[in-house]
């Protein structure tokens, strides 16, 4: 079949609809037009909770750093956690901005990208969790000091600390390489697909696949 034939067929279909299609007005009037789109509202609420939570955490960590500025290991641990909190906060604010920009009267590709970026938000958290792997020690150091006023650092064997820092320093570059691979552009690589699917679930994976499809479409 040629496209001309397809167009003729479509025109015939169109003409048939002209003759036969009727609007069921009473049914149209029954639709509750003013109901708010529940799902979009729910995502906005979730992201707003994230923004508030990370903002509170950022303030708490800022005050923790100020209070312990003179104690190097506490200040460094606090700064590390603060940086991660600020990255997460920026990510959540970005999501709220994207949600505000979703307007179905805008071009399809632009809107689809925004929606899929909202749907694939879990990937940012996955990356943050992996990225913080070499400095996981910062969490107990800060948490124990903040909540129970316990400083565990003096109780740790200094030799262990040196080895831990050295091993983790070696891990930084492979980790950065690993994280740079975790994007929708690399979904054709089996381990990338499996890692993302395993840690973030089907919904995120599907969104990333669609982002890939959009990029292909734009070429």
């Amino acid at each position: 079949m040629e496209t001309n034939e397809l167009k003729e067929l479509f025109a015939a279909y169109d003409a048939k609809l002209d003759r036969a299609l009727q609007l069921n007005e009473s049914s149209l009037k029954k639709i509750k037009l003013d109901r708010i789109h529940k799902q979009t509202r729910w995502i906005s609420v979730l992201r707003s909770i994230e923004v508030v939570s990370f903002s509170i955490l950022a303030v708490i960590l800022g005050s923790f750093i100020a209070d312990n500025w003179a104690v190097a290991h506490l200040a460094v641990s606090g700064v590390i956690l603060h940086v991660f909190t600020l990255i997460a906060l920026a990510g959540s604010i970005g999501q709220l901005v994207l949600l505000q920009q979703i307007d179905y009267a805008k071009p399809i590709v632009e809107i689809r990208k925004k929606i899929e970026l909202v749907n694939s938000h879990a990937l940012l958290f996955l990356k943050l969790v992996f990225l913080s792997a070499p400095i996981w020690w910062a969490y107990p150091v800060v948490a124990l000091n903040y909540f129970f006023n316990i400083d565990i650092y003096p109780h740790i064997d200094p030799d262990f600390v040196v080895k831990y820092v050295a091993v983790n320093a070696l891990l930084v570059f492979p980790l950065l390489w690993f994280l740079s691979k975790l994007t929708y552009k690399n979904l054709h690589i089996k381990w990338v697909r499996k890692t993302i699917g395993f840690f973030t679930g089907t919904k995120t994976k599907k969104s990333l696949e669609f982002l890939n499809e959009i990029e292909e479409f734009e070429k």
């Binding site: 036969a20 007005e25 009267a105 689809r112």
Partner: protein
């Protein structure tokens, strides 16, 4: 005042009902989903009605919203739609019975056409619908958000696919 707005909206939907009907039928092979999608499109059109940009033709504006909604619907978990309570049980469209001599043959051909469109990827589906509607490349590009040249390239690829498909 509000009733007036609703009346204008209903008139607009009536004038352009074919657009919604064709999009719904292209994106939903399942009859139960079709009813949900047509209502979701109506809701999105109503939400955007006040913000209508007069730079667009009504049909272009309607295509933008209906196609965006259809692609979102297609990609969304259907469970959400099943749970919502604002969907009416009736379809807003009806087809009058036709006793034309060519009715049966036309239906078979339309089915063939719909099968072909159903099998395209979501964005290609939108592109094909607009192309079959005789929209020019510029307008198709405007609705999809891609360049005019890209529209031409993509249509060329779909044409090739179409040839292969119907040679089988």
């Amino acid at each position: 005042m509000k009733a007036n707005k609703k009346d204008r909206f209903i008139t607009l939907i009536d004038e352009h009902k074919k657009i919604i009907y064709k999009i719904v039928n292209s994106y939903c092979p399942n009859r139960a989903d079709r009813k949900d999608l047509e209502q979701e499109i109506i809701i999105q059109l109503w939400r955007a009605f006040d913000k209508y940009d007069p730079d667009y033709k009504y049909s272009t504006w309607m295509y933008l919203i209906a196609l965006n909604t259809a692609i979102s619907f297609y990609r969304k978990e259907k469970k959400w739609y099943a749970k919502t309570d604002f969907l009416s049980d009736d379809s807003i469209f009806g087809l009058a019975d036709e006793d034309h001599e060519d009715g049966v043959e036309l239906n078979q051909n339309i089915k063939l056409l719909q099968d072909f469109i159903h099998n395209l990827k979501e964005l290609d589906k939108a592109l094909m619908l607009l192309y079959l509607e005789e929209k020019n490349y510029e307008e198709i590009g405007e609705i999809l958000g891609i360049t005019k040249t890209n529209v031409g390239t993509k249509i060329g690829r779909i044409k090739l696919k179409l040839k292969k498909e119907f040679k089988k």
